[in-house]
C-alpha cells in the first residue's frame, strides 16, 4: 500500500503545471470563454506535451500510461481551470476505441495520440439522464454501411471535434444492455448546433440522419461502462484540482479581506467553515485516489468503487464550490473574479455522467454485507 507518486508522475505533474503557469492564465481562459469557449488550440497545446496520447498504447503512438498518470494530469488541468475536453478526447475516446477492430484503431488512435484528431463521445440523449442503456438513436446496416439516426445532446466541443463516438441501438429496447452498438461518426456526417457552456467551454447538439458510421462493436455496453468509469475517475481528479486551487484562492482572500476592522480569517464562524471545506477537499482527494486505483478491477467492483467515489466527490464539489463563493461574499459572484469560474466548472462536473443522487443509487444497489477500501 503506497500513495506516493513516482518520479515520472511528479515530472508529469510539473510539466502540466508549468504549461498552465506559463500559458494558461485566467485572462486567457476568460477571453476564450467570452469568445465562445473554443478549446481546440488549448487541446493542441496539451497534445504537444504528449498528453493526448497519455493512455494510448505505445503501439498506436501513445505513451501507454495508466490511470494514476491520467489522474495526475486531470488534477493539474482542474487546478489550472483548463477548458479542454481532455477526459473525453484523451481518456474516454481511446477506451471506447479499444473495443474496435484493429484497423479502426489503427486509423484513429495514432491521430488521437498526436493531437491531429479530436474525437469525443456523444452520449447524452433527451430525458435519458445518466442511463447508459436508454438510447433512442438507432443504427442499421444499409448495403454494408452502418447508418445512424438520432440526436445526441450536449456533446463536448461538438463543432471542434473531427469525429464522435456514438452509442446507438442495433436491437433491444430501453434498459437492455445487449444490442448497443458503438460507432465512429465523422463530423461531416452530422448536423451540429454548437453553443458555449456554463463552464466556459463549448458543446453542441448533433443530429444524425442516416449518418454514415464506422462500427466499433455491436456489443458496446461493457466498454461504454468502462470508458464512462475512466471519465468519472478523471472528473474526480479534475474536481480535486479545482477544489484545491479554489480553496487556496479563498484562503488568500480570507487572509486579506477586512471587515469590521479585521480579516475575514479572524472570524471563528468562517474559520470553522473553511475547516469543513478542508474536510470535504481531503475526503474528495482520498476518494479520487480510490477511483483511479480501482479502475482496473473487475466491472462489479470497479463500478461500485467509482460510484462511491463520485458520491463523495459530488458532495465535496458542491460544498466546497458553494461555500468558497459564500466566503468571498459579493466578489465571489462576479464574472470578472476567478472564483466563480471554478465554482461553475465544479457545478457542471457534478452533473456529468451521473449526479450525486444517481451514483448514490448505484452504491445502494451494489451494497454488500461488508464494505471498505478492500471489500
Amino acid at each position: 500500500m503506497d500513495f506516493d507518486f513516482t518520479e515520472d508522475q511528479e515530472s508529469l505533474r510539473d510539466a502540466v503545471r508549468r504549461w498552465v503557469d506559463k500559458g494558461f492564465s485566467f485572462d486567457r481562459r476568460h477571453g476564450l470563454a467570452k469568445a465562445g469557449g473554443a478549446s481546440r488550440a488549448v487541446y493542441g497545446e496539451l497534445a504537444e506535451l504528449g498528453l493526448a496520447g497519455l493512455v494510448i498504447p505505445e503501439a498506436h503512438g501513445g505513451l501507454g500510461q495508466g490511470p494514476v498518470d491520467a489522474m495526475v494530469v486531470c488534477e493539474e488541468l482542474g487546478r489550472g481551470l483548463v477548458n479542454a475536453p481532455y477526459a473525453e478526447a484523451a481518456l474516454m475516446a481511446p477506451a471506447l476505441l479499444s473495443a474496435a477492430p484493429e484497423a479502426l484503431q489503427a486509423a484513429w488512435l495514432p491521430r488521437i495520440a498526436g493531437g491531429e484528431a479530436l474525437v469525443v463521445p456523444a452520449l447524452h440523449e433527451r430525458a435519458a439522464r445518466y442511463r447508459l442503456t436508454k438510447i433512442s438513436t438507432t443504427a442499421q446496416q444499409v448495403g454494408g454501411q452502418w447508418q445512424l439516426t438520432g440526436q445526441k445532446l450536449a456533446v463536448p466541443a461538438a463543432d471542434e471535434a473531427d469525429a464522435y463516438i456514438v452509442p446507438a441501438r442495433i436491437s433491444g429496447s430501453d434498459g437492455d444492455t445487449a444490442g448497443i452498438g458503438l460507432f465512429v461518426v465523422e463530423k461531416l456526417a452530422a448536423t451540429v448546433a454548437p453553443y458555449p457552456t456554463q463552464d466556459g467551454a463549448r458543446a453542441g447538439d448533433i443530429t444524425l440522419n442516416a449518418a454514415a458510421a464506422q462500427l466499433i462493436t455491436t456489443d458496446g455496453h461493457a466498454v461504454l461502462e468502462t470508458a464512462v468509469d475512466a471519465g468519472l475517475a478523471a472528473q474526480c481528479a479534475e474536481g480535486v484540482g479545482l477544489m484545491d486551487r479554489l480553496v487556496a484562492i479563498t484562503v488568500d482572500y480570507m487572509n486579506t479581506r477586512k471587515q469590521f476592522g479585521t480579516t475575514l480569517a479572524s472570524f471563528q464562524a468562517l474559520r470553522h467553515r473553511i475547516a469543513d471545506v478542508k474536510m470535504q477537499l481531503e475526503l474528495g482527494r482520498s476518494m479520487s485516489y480510490y477511483a483511479s486505483l480501482k479502475l482496473g478491477e473487475a466491472p462489479a467492483q470497479r463500478r461500485r468503487a467509482i460510484s462511491q467515489a463520485r458520491v463523495q466527490l459530488g458532495q465535496s464539489m458542491r460544498y466546497v464550490g458553494q461555500q468558497c463563493i459564500q466566503l468571498h461574499g459579493g466578489i465571489g459572484c462576479t464574472d470578472e473574479y476567478i472564483a466563480s469560474h471554478y465554482f461553475k466548472r465544479l457545478t457542471v462536473l457534478e452533473m456529468t455522467y451521473g449526479d450525486t443522487l444517481h451514483h448514490l443509487g448505484e452504491v445502494s444497489a451494489r451494497m454488500q454485507d461488508t464494505a471498505g477500501v478492500f471489500a
Binding site: A127, L153, K258, Q259, G261, F267, L270, G330, C333, E336
Partner: protein
C-alpha cells in the same frame, strides 16, 4: 387560532387576483415564468400599470396616496402578484426610499419625490455598499462635504442593482469622521444625471450586468436633498430595514417556483424517481414551514399580541430555499443544463438546430445567479450574528 382567512380577506384576494389577470401583460408574465431576461421597459411598463392603480406603493398609508392595507392584505397582494408571475417590483423606490421620505423627509421632499415613485415614472437605485464596506456597512467612506447649500460627494458605491437604469439614487454618505462610524452617516438623494457620476456595470457569474459600480467625482448635491438631519442617516436606514419584514422571505415566489420545479422534473422524467422526488418533498416541507413562519409574523403584526423577531430567520431560510429550488431545477435537467446561450434568455429565441429545450436553458443561469441571495441584504452570516444576539441576549 385560525388558519383560515376571513371572508373579507378572501374577497380581497379575489379582487387582486381578478385585477392581475386583467392587467398583467402576458409577455411580461411569460418572461417571469421562464426566468427570461426582463428589460428596463418591461419593469417600467408593469410599474406604471401598478402606479396607475395606486398599487405600486402597495405598502403606503392612505395619507401618501397608498391603499392603506394591513399586513395581511399586503401579503395577499404580494402573493397574488407572485403566483401570477408578475415581475418583482423594483423595490428601491416604492419599498425602500419612499418609507424613509415619508418618515423623515420634510413636506417639500415628500411632495417632490413621492409622486414620481408612486407612478413608476422615476427609477430609483440604492447606494449603500462600498468596495470596502460589505457586511460592515457602517465603515462606509463615500464622502459628502457641505459647501454652502450643496454637498460635494466623492467616493464609490458598488453592488448597485440595476443602477445602469437609475435616474435617482439614495445614498448613505459620510459627513463626519467623529464618534462611532454609525454616527457620521447621512442619507442623501442624488440625481444620477448630475455631472461627475459614472456607472459601470458589473457582470455577475450568470453573464448578466445586474449590479453596478457608481463613482462620484465632485458631484454637487443640493442640501435640499438631505433627508432629515445630517449624521442621522444610519438611523433612517435602520428604520428602513425594520420595514423589510416578511417579504424578505420571498415565500410567494418560492411557492411558484416549487410548482415549476415539479413541472421541470416531470418533463425531465425525474418526478417519479424516488430519490429526486424526495428532494422535492423535503423542499416542499421547507416552503410550507417558511410560509407558516411568515404567516405567524403577519398575524402578530395584525393583532399586536405576540412579538416575533424573526426577520433574520426569514432572510436566512428564504434565501436557502431560493438556492435550493434553483439547484434542483438545474439538477433535474442534468447534463443538458450545461448549455449557455446568451440569446436564449430573450423571449422568442429560436435556436435553429439546438435540441436542448428552451425551458431548460435558463436553469443553470438562474442557479448561478441565486448564489447572491445568501450574501446580499445582510449576508446570512451577519443574519446569524443578529439572531444569536437576540437568542443569547448578549
Amino acid at each position: 387560532m385560525d388558519l383560515n382567512f376571513t371572508p373579507d380577506e378572501l374577497a380581497f384576494r379575489h379582487e387582486i387576483r381578478a385585477w392581475v389577470a386583467e392587467n398583467l401583460p402576458a409577455d411580461i408574465a411569460h418572461k417571469v415564468r421562464h426566468s427570461l431576461r426582463l428589460s428596463r421597459e418591461d419593469h417600467q411598463r408593469w410599474a406604471k400599470i401598478l402606479g396607475k392603480k395606486s398599487w405600486l406603493g402597495w405598502g403606503w398609508p392612505k395619507e401618501f396616496g397608498g391603499p392603506g392595507w394591513n399586513a395581511i392584505q399586503k401579503h395577499l397582494f404580494e402573493e397574488e402578484l407572485a403566483l401570477a408571475c408578475a415581475p418583482r417590483v423594483i423595490p428601491f423606490g416604492p419599498v425602500m426610499v419612499a418609507p424613509v421620505i415619508m418618515a423623515f423627509g420634510n413636506a417639500e421632499q415628500q411632495k417632490r419625490f413621492l409622486p414620481g415613485i408612486a407612478s413608476g415614472e422615476v427609477w430609483w437605485s440604492q447606494g449603500y455598499s462600498e468596495p470596502g464596506s460589505g457586511s460592515d456597512l457602517a465603515s462606509l467612506k463615500c464622502k459628502a462635504e457641505r459647501r454652502g447649500d450643496k454637498y460635494i460627494v466623492n467616493g464609490q458605491k458598488t453592488w448597485t442593482t440595476l443602477g445602469q437604469y437609475g435616474e435617482w439614487i439614495f445614498c448613505l454618505v459620510r459627513t463626519s469622521n467623529e464618534g462611532k462610524p454609525q454616527t457620521g452617516i447621512s442619507f442623501l438623494l442624488i440625481d444620477m444625471k448630475s455631472p461627475g457620476i459614472t456607472v459601470r456595470p458589473i457582470v455577475l457569474m450568470d453573464g448578466e450586468p445586474e449590479v453596478n459600480e457608481v463613482w462620484f467625482d465632485n458631484v454637487e448635491v443640493p442640501t435640499d436633498n438631505l433627508i432629515g438631519e445630517e449624521n442621522k442617516g444610519w438611523t433612517y436606514a435602520k428604520h428602513l430595514l425594520s420595514h423589510e419584514r416578511t417579504n424578505i422571505a420571498d415565500v410567494n415566489r418560492a411557492k411558484r417556483e416549487l410548482e415549476r420545479l415539479k413541472r421541470v422534473a416531470k418533463a425531465e422524467g425525474v418526478y417519479d424517481d424516488a430519490r429526486f422526488r424526495d428532494q422535492i418533498a423535503l423542499l416542499e416541507v421547507d416552503v410550507v414551514a417558511l410560509e407558516m413562519m411568515v404567516l405567524r409574523v403577519l398575524s402578530a403584526e395584525k393583532s399586536g399580541k405576540q412579538s416575533l423577531d424573526v426577520a433574520g430567520l426569514l432572510k436566512i431560510r428564504g434565501s436557502e430555499i431560493q438556492q435550493r429550488y434553483a439547484e434542483l431545477m438545474m439538477l433535474a435537467a442534468g447534463p443538458l443544463s450545461r448549455a449557455y446561450i446568451f440569446e436564449a434568455m430573450e423571449a422568442g429565441w429560436q435556436g435553429d438546430q439546438v435540441a436542448v429545450p428552451g425551458d431548460i436553458l435558463p436553469l443553470a443561469s438562474t442557479f448561478f445567479n441565486m448564489r447572491k441571495t445568501t450574501i446580499y441584504g445582510g449576508s446570512n452570516e451577519v443574519q446569524r450574528n443578529i439572531v444569536a444576539q437576540t437568542v443569547l441576549g448578549s
